[in-house]
């Protein structure tokens, strides 16, 4: 399948390994990955902080870029069949927020009335990594080996906005050599919440403290998740406290041990 990668702004700028591993993994599975170079960001930070007017041009830009990617090559597009992002939160924003912003802004006379429908069309073809693998490509065993003790944190937006359910766990269970340990109170938020982590830093830190305590009870070497943002938060705490457990994006595990050699 020909698939467009939406790397997300955070992975592009700060956590390129999550996006690189996604490329390496999909190519190893025999798919063709394209990276529409005009892409930037889904605009979720703006929307969740209340700045929908400012988010509008970002949303419009995202829709333009991926609408083009999804258009057949004969019509000047990239002819991709799906868009994938290594983030439940950014896909959640594309799927659940873009049309909402478009409609609100259309009501205020700031956006074109057709934008919401165009955003919904792009969203319908946009998948979080575990959704793409399990639902669209129909694989759970991606042929990876990762001989480490790992615990999985289900990120809030992948769990409750996208309902990825146990797809990431099914993928992890099929990884050879991986010792998967259940995380206590796994479904509790890590406390990131975007600008919440700064605006309500004390509460955010209290939530993080409990998440770190849960991670520590698993005695894992690695905590993994489908979102670089939540991993940045959990990892920021683990690093500050020198816990010794590291954060690794789900894509990097699925790409398998030694995937960096393919870079």
């Amino acid at each position: 399948m020909r698939i467009a990668l939406f790397a997300t702004c955070l992975a592009d700028a700060m956590f390129p390994r999550a996006a690189q591993a996604t490329v390496v993994l999909l190519e190893r599975l025999g798919h063709e990955v394209v990276f529409p170079s005009g892409q930037t960001c889904c605009g979720q930070m703006h929307v969740n902080t209340g700045y929908q007017r400012e988010a509008l041009p970002v949303v419009e830009h995202h829709v333009d870029v991926f609408e083009t990617a999804l258009r057949p090559r004969a019509q000047g597009g990239d002819g991709v069949e799906a868009v994938v992002a290594p983030s439940g939160s950014c896909v959640g924003s594309v799927r659940h927020q873009h049309a909402v912003v478009a409609r609100r802004m259309a009501e205020q006379g700031r956006a074109d009335t057709g934008l919401a429908a165009r955003a919904e069309a792009v969203a319908a073809k946009t998948y979080e990594l575990s959704e793409l693998l399990v639902d669209v490509l129909g694989v759970t065993d991606v042929g990876a080996r990762y001989p480490h003790r790992v615990t999985y944190h289900p990120t809030c937006h992948s769990l409750r906005m996208l309902r990825v359910d146990d797809k990431p766990l099914r993928l992890l269970r099929a990884v050879h050599g991986l010792d998967l340990v259940e995380l206590p109170d796994a479904e509790q938020c890590c406390g990131f919440g975007g600008t919440f982590s700064v605006k309500n830093a004390d509460t955010s830190t209290a939530m993080l403290a409990d998440k770190i305590r849960a991670v520590q009870t698993t005695r894992s070497e690695v905590v993994t998740a489908g979102d670089s943002s939540c991993l940045m938060h959990i990892g920021g705490g683990l690093s500050r406290l020198r816990v010794g457990t590291k954060t690794v994006h789900l894509a990097e595990i699925l790409a398998g041990e030694g995937w960096e050699a393919a870079l």
């Binding site: 790397a7 992975a11 592009d12 700028a13 700060m14 390129p16 390994r17 996006a19 690189q20 490329v23 394209v34 990276f35 170079s37 892409q39 930037t40 960001c41 930070m45 929307v47 969740n48 902080t49 209340g50 700045y51 929908q52 007017r53 400012e54 988010a55 041009p57 970002v58 419009e60 830009h61 990239d78 659940h96 927020q97 809030c156 937006h157 769990l159 409750r160 479904e187 938020c189 406390g191 990131f192 919440g193 975007g194 919440f196 982590s197 700064v198 605006k199 309500n200 830093a201 004390d202 509460t203 830190t205 939530m207 993080l208 938060h233 920021g236 705490g237 690093s239 500050r240 870079l263």
Partner: protein, 516 residues
């Protein structure tokens, strides 16, 4: 569709009150987070209720259908509120009750005070009333208004009584004294309950019996009771109160005069609709299949030969207090669907750590964060001033948007989406108030505008990424331990990894650039 109920309601007064606390959420939360006893009490209580709720909800294979039915009935009520309220008034009046309409807290308090005074005589005035736990009367500050007029209001719900005796405020919708443990409760009884046995222990049963003895004396002397209502049935004029202790039923049946204060959104169209809500409410709130006491009454009840059966006089006070303003906002009106079960509080990771007082409103937790700003009105400042802003304006930001509240809500109120909506309303209000035309309303606004400018163009974005890489200079051993404000709020407790040597975009261009 916009629904108007006669006079369009205005957001109520903006000064401190039962909906607007003294501090913004971040400030109040910081204080609460430092309280070890509070953290322990809350963590224990919420996890216990969460487990109970999960168990009884899991028993029903039609739970999702029940939730959908509850949401649909409430949406119907909001769409037809004016006609249903008139229908309720007609039916209550036809059965011998009296209906009063109160635009705001002051009006409601005045109506109740006049009714209490009218129940006494110049020689024998009413000096105290008994109360069933009621959010609506907390919202209007009725106890304080009665106290000013020399009338004592005695709370008869056990937890509410604990809160009242210790001159505290409730911190949870359903379990107002959730922040107290039994040792603390024993001390409160010893210090404040009249005629209490000095040998009181902290055994739950002993504490309950002490409260029971005190309350029985109170009930038998009471001439007036004030209640809230869980539901009102438009088609019959019936009011319903659900509770666990039976103290509510004492209030509803013993005194001569019963005054019920109810928010106008508590309506259900038909008797049949109760079937849905009497399943949803107890399972969501106390984690029980059925609540021990469900009291229903219609007008001023009479026996078959016409003699009073229960209160001789019944008055229903219908309260607006910001509700019609909430109803007018299509994206916000779902907050009025709330049946006050408090399931969202018990699953909220923020509430579990800060407790209810941090919200500064009688409505705490996730539902409070969407209901309070709509009832009380937002000022539009405080967007980036966590310490100096308006307490109510800070509430829509008191959430990580984790979505646990939406999943738990028995009437499917999409609280995360409403929080995002209210944040947008707040920012738009702030922008409309900007002091210098053309300039952004705040430093945060300027930063967000700049980020939006960068993020709508890949060229600008990759240029900004180059700037970000200067961050590598701040890093030691691959991590950054300290950043300037406002990002210092992050690095106080968390590291930031050093930016990578090569962005994804550059790597792609270098390795696969010829492809796309």
């Amino acid at each position: 569709m916009t629904t108007f109920l006669g006079m369009p309601g205005l957001p109520v007064a903006t000064e401190r009150g039962t909906l607007r606390g003294p501090d913004t959420f971040p400030v109040a939360a910081r204080r609460a987070l430092a309280d070890t006893q509070l953290r322990k009490n809350l963590g224990h209580a919420t996890s216990t209720i969460r487990a109970k709720r999960a168990r009884v909800v899991g028993e029903l294979d039609d739970w999702e259908e029940l939730r959908a039915a509850g949401a649909a009935i409430k949406a119907d009520v909001m769409a037809r509120l004016p006609e249903l309220l008139v229908q309720l008034e007609e039916n209550v009046t036809a059965r011998g009750g009296h209906v009063h309409w109160a635009r705001d807290a002051d009006e409601a308090n005045r109506i109740v005070l006049d009714l209490v005074r009218a129940a006494g005589t110049p020689d024998d005035p009413v000096t105290s009333v008994v109360k069933v736990k009621s959010m609506a009367t907390q919202e209007i500050g009725l106890n304080e208004a009665l106290a000013e007029a020399g009338i004592a209001a005695v709370e008869t719900d056990l937890a509410e009584l604990i809160v009242q005796l210790s001159d505290d405020t409730p911190s949870h919708i359903l379990v107002p004294a959730i922040h107290r443990n039994r040792a603390e409760i024993r001390q409160i009884f010893l210090d404040h309950m009249p005629d209490v046995d000095p040998g009181l222990t902290d055994e739950p049963r002993v504490l309950a019996m002490a409260a029971r003895a005190y309350l029985r004396r109170t009930f038998l002397a009471a001439r007036v009771a004030v209640s809230g209502a869980n539901f009102a049935i438009a088609e019959t004029g019936t009011l319903a109160v659900v509770e666990s202790e039976g103290n509510g039923r004492m209030c509803l049946t013993l005194p001569q005069t019963l005054v019920t204060v109810m928010g106008i959104e508590k309506l259900l169209p038909t008797w049949r609709d109760l079937e849905v809500f009497l399943q949803l409410l107890p399972r969501s709130s106390t984690g029980e299949r059925m609540n021990p006491y469900t009291s229903m009454w219609t007008g001023a009840p009479r026996t078959s030969d016409g003699a009073p059966d229960g209160p001789q006089e019944f008055h229903l006070v219908l309260l607006d207090n910001g509700r019609t303003a909430t109803l007018a906002d299509e994206a916000g009106r779902q907050a009025l669907h709330c049946i006050r079960c408090s399931a969202c509080l018990n699953v909220c990771p923020v509430y579990e750590r800060t407790g209810g007082h941090a919200y500064g409103s009688v409505y705490p937790g996730p539902i409070g964060a969407v209901l309070t700003p709509q009832l009380a009105g937002m000022h539009g400042h405080g967007a980036d001033a966590p310490a100096g802003g308006d307490p109510v304006d800070s509430l829509p930001y008191a959430s990580s948007l984790c979505g646990a509240c939406f999943d738990a809500c028995p009437v499917r109120i999409d609280i995360p989406s409403m929080l995002v909506h209210l944040r947008a309303k707040h920012v738009e209000t702030a922008q409309a108030q900007r002091r210098v035309p053309g300039l952004p309303a705040s430093a945060e606004n300027a930063a967000m505008s700049a980020a939006a400018w960068v993020m709508q163009d890949a060229g600008r974005f990759s240029f900004a990424e180059r700037g970000l890489q200067l961050g590598r200079l701040l890093a030691r051993d691959g991590r950054i331990r300290s950043l300037p404000p406002p990002l210092s709020a992050w690095t106080t407790s968390r590291d930031v990894p050093a930016p990578p040597a090569e962005t994804f975009r550059k790597w792609w261009a270098r390795t696969r650039g010829d492809r796309s």
